[in-house]
Amino acid sequence: MDYLIFSFSLMLIYIGLAQLLHIQFGLAGIPNFGVVGFWGLGLYGTGVLYVTYSFPLLAAIAAASLISAAVAWVLAYLVLQRSGQSILAATLALAAIVATLVVTEKDITGGVQGIGTIGFPFSEMANRNVIYFGFLLAVVIGLIWVSARLRDSRLGRQLIAIRDNEELAASLGKDTAAAKRMTFVVTCALMGVLGGLSAPLHQFLVPYHLAPSLTFAVWIALVLGGKGHNLGAMIGVFATFGLFDILIETYAPVPQDYALMVPNFKLFCYGALLVLIIMYRPTGILGEDAPHERPKAAPTPVPDTPVKEG
């Protein structure tokens, strides 16, 4: 039972990360391939501040998320106005740097030995796992609500405009660089918060937690569900993490000789799913985001060509 609550709690973290990635990429068009880096700064930042410097857990999470924000701010100034490939490479590199520093700076992070133990909140209560799960659920529901509301807000429309045509958005008076920077920094800080909230789940932090597979899983979830749709991101997590890490790992009658193959089989399936979705449903299960109301009747025929998307 405890394992199931742990798995579902971790799934909530993935859903939260997918929501934040939906805001970054689905709305603002920022391809962050370093999700695990910002999440990891929150995770390890919380761990180090809590274990080594005896910060209270909440203060440690808050401080660690500020570290994620500060790193995001520097990265935003360096690469956010460059091409998508540059942002992708820089964020991927950041995740690699964070993972490497965790191993090399062993005086601070414990290196390969790891660091712990992170105390569990609500420790005086009998069902603390369930209560913490409820707390995470509330946080993630909050993120889903914000992400859903954002689409129809002034800021959301501005981000979509910037994503679709940054030059045109600038010509309409939008400070596109500032809007992208602010979105990136705030969402990366929240990834740091989710990292901090993951620390009590893992309790003992090791470099393995910063493997890039977390970033790939969240990206696959986003692409699978539909990058422009916040519910799509959630469905994507159910179809990936929920299916493999919970259903198959917990309930599938895998013979013991083959049990060690399950993680590799999972990665294989993730990759196959990604290929299939790109081939047959490139806009994901739920498709792209779009204005809520569509024309009720067919548009009047007009004697010229459709608008080119730009």
Partner: protein, 230 residues
Amino acid sequence: MFDVQAMRSGYGDMAVLKDLTFSIKDEIFAVLGANGAGKTTLLKTLARLLPLQSGSMKLGGADVSATPAHAMPSAGVAYVPQEGNVFPDLSVAENLSIGGRTGHRPKEEKLEEVFDLFPRLKERLSQAAGSLSGGEGQMLAVGRALMQDPKVLLLDEPSAGLSPIFVDTLFSSIEKARKESGVTIVLAEQNAVKTLEIADRVMVLSLGEMHLLREREGLEMKDITEAYHI
């Protein structure tokens, strides 16, 4: 309105416009030229979407040579690019709204004026802009620019790819907008015949250089054709 001195502009180190000096008054100012003449580069530079490599640019007496692009709408400049001029994933209403935050008049008042010019947009309000036809998209782009209450409207080849009937409608609307709101219009076009019907002054560009700048009165097509081929 605009006072341009020795403008050099282009992409990276490459200069497309070479030492252009001219002024734009309260008028419909047409910029004609073949493909590659520098019309789009000129409009983008006036909108500050491309940097000046050298020279200066004043708007209403104020130097805007280094003004960021996003500050130009509040200085009174609206720009309608030739392609990619709507946000396809936003609805028509959202496209109009995103341009309507500059100026002091209520958004509703400006919307009514746009619907008066382009009634078809009112029927398409909830439709995604990406699903509009080319003509409707062009109307939306011009309508959105007018929502900015501009002093100067920069239009880059609005007739490109449109059927003749839509070109007539669009040019009538441009002329009407000029008469009703007094907005200065800078119109880059290849359709010289239609442009001469509404322009007050005409500039002809060829390979980034100005080969003709004259009042429309007395200007004949052969003058333009000659300037095209210099």
